[in-house]
């Protein structure tokens, strides 16, 4: 969020509310839950860190307290670093994998039931993402974000299917012995 807010400021100095509109537009349906507070809290933190500077602008009569935010040189360097950085969020598969292993080893829970519960939750999320995607017009850039989310959830669901297949056999084996 901090990096995204900084990068959105790189185009030109801006009011907080304008930044929020840019973020919401880019996020599409996912931006609907974003509130103004989040942007202002982020801007305040960035200001304390010396990455943005604000100055009070000529206010309109109904909104006298408007601040315009701009990147500082340190902020510009940070944006450049963020853009050139090649990072990718890691899905935390190891944790779930270990949960299943621990549940099976300690007979704490049936791993297959844990997989089922997880699958139901992911299907529900995938349904939300798909329905939002169907409501987006063709060629919408916000639709691309939903497409990415849906593809990831689909991959996770396929992995869970493999988990279920293997763990259901592991259980049968241990019951036989």
């Amino acid at each position: 969020m901090q990096d995204a807010v900084l990068a959105m400021l790189a185009k030109e100095p801006s009011h907080g509310y304008l930044l929020r509109e840019r973020l919401r537009k880019a996020l599409g349906p996912l931006g609907e839950s974003m509130n103004a507070g989040q942007v202002y809290v982020t801007l305040t933190r960035l200001e304390k860190a010396g990455l943005v500077a604000s100055e009070r602008a000529e206010g309109l009569p109904d909104r006298p307290d408007r601040k315009v935010y701009a990147l500082t040189p340190a902020g510009q360097r940070r944006v450049a670093a963020w853009l050139s950085e090649v990072s990718w969020p890691k899905p935390n598969l190891a944790e779930f994998h270990l949960k299943l292993a621990a549940a099976a080893a300690g007979r704490l829970a049936d791993p297959v039931e844990l997989v089922d519960a997880q699958r139901r939750e992911l299907m529900r999320r995938l349904g939300e993402a798909q329905r939002a995607l169907l409501a987006e017009p063709d060629g919408s850039t916000a639709g691309l974000l939903l497409e990415g989310i849906a593809l990831r959830l689909q991959a996770d669901l396929r992995w869970l299917e493999a988990c279920e297949r293997v763990w259901s056999k592991v259980e049968n084996e241990s019951e036989d012995t």
């Binding site: 969020m1 839950s33 995938l126 169907l134």
Partner: protein, 246 residues
């Protein structure tokens, strides 16, 4: 709609192939109720019996045992003639490979079932125009199937399946031959049908198709192993659910 409150009702349904040592239970003791207006997805690995189940629901195959009721009428005991009539008028089928008549235009493909149901050419033409409009292909009405993309062909096939306003629309891997964009177009059509109250049963191995349904039934080795309702809205918005925010 009937005394059961379900458009489709299935009890103790079994379908066996072969005999003796080679006996295979493609569908094994399935009970299922599909309420009016529900969009149900049936998923599972290939060979789990989901397509056979769909064929039994629509009267394309007869069960070895068990009952299938459509709108309060038992259909597995109907004679061939009554069954054929039921398939023409009360059930709409959509297949993976479209199965359009290649010599007929999009419009004529949709008109055909209306004519076979004994209605006038004029009524057929009106119905086809309405349905092609609904699936977003009004401007492709005169095209032959080979002149259309896969996604467009499947949307014509959906229009055809809806021609006689069926009690239930049954779709077998409807997006199996389609790319992502065409899949979304087909899902948009299903979504619109669902919003209009159409009952749909969709067999699919595609999680993204299944996730758009109201309810997902998972099959393994001929039986239902899971039955999940998805219609409940998530607490909080999409953004919260996918970790946006701080």
């Amino acid at each position: 709609m009937n005394e059961f409150g379900a458009v489709l009702q299935v009890r103790g349904l079994c379908k066996e192939h072969g005999q003796g040592q080679g006996l295979v239970r493609a569908v094994d003791e399935i009970d299922l109720d599909v309420p009016a207006g529900q969009m149900l997805a049936v998923t599972g690995p290939s060979g789990c019996g989901k397509s056979t189940l769909l064929h039994l629901l629509g009267g394309l195959e007869r069960p070895s045992r068990g009952e299938v009721w459509l709108a309060g009428r038992r259909i597995d005991t109907l004679n061939e003639r009554a069954l054929a009539r039921l398939r023409r008028r009360s059930v709409g089928f959509v297949f993976q490979a479209f199965h359009l008549v290649e010599e007929l235009s999009a419009r004529e493909n949709v008109e055909l079932p209306v004519l076979l149901a004994g209605r006038s050419p004029r009524a057929a033409r009106r119905r086809a125009a309405t349905l092609l409009e609904r699936v977003g292909l009004a401007d492709r009405a005169r095209h032959l199937p080979w002149e259309l993309s896969g996604g467009q062909r499947q949307r014509v096939a959906i229009a055809r399946a809806m021609a006689n306003d069926p009690l239930v629309l049954l779709a077998d891997e409807p997006t199996g031959n389609l790319d992502t964009a065409a899949t979304l177009d087909v899902l948009r059509v299903f979504e619109e049908l669902r919003a209009a109250g159409q009952t749909l049963v969709i067999v699919t191995h595609d999680e993204r198709v299944a996730a758009t349904a109201d309810r997902v039934v998972s099959m393994r080795d001929g039986t239902c192993v899971d039955d999940t309702r998805l219609a409940a809205q998530a607490a909080g918005g999409l953004g919260d659910m996918f970790g946006l925010g701080e």
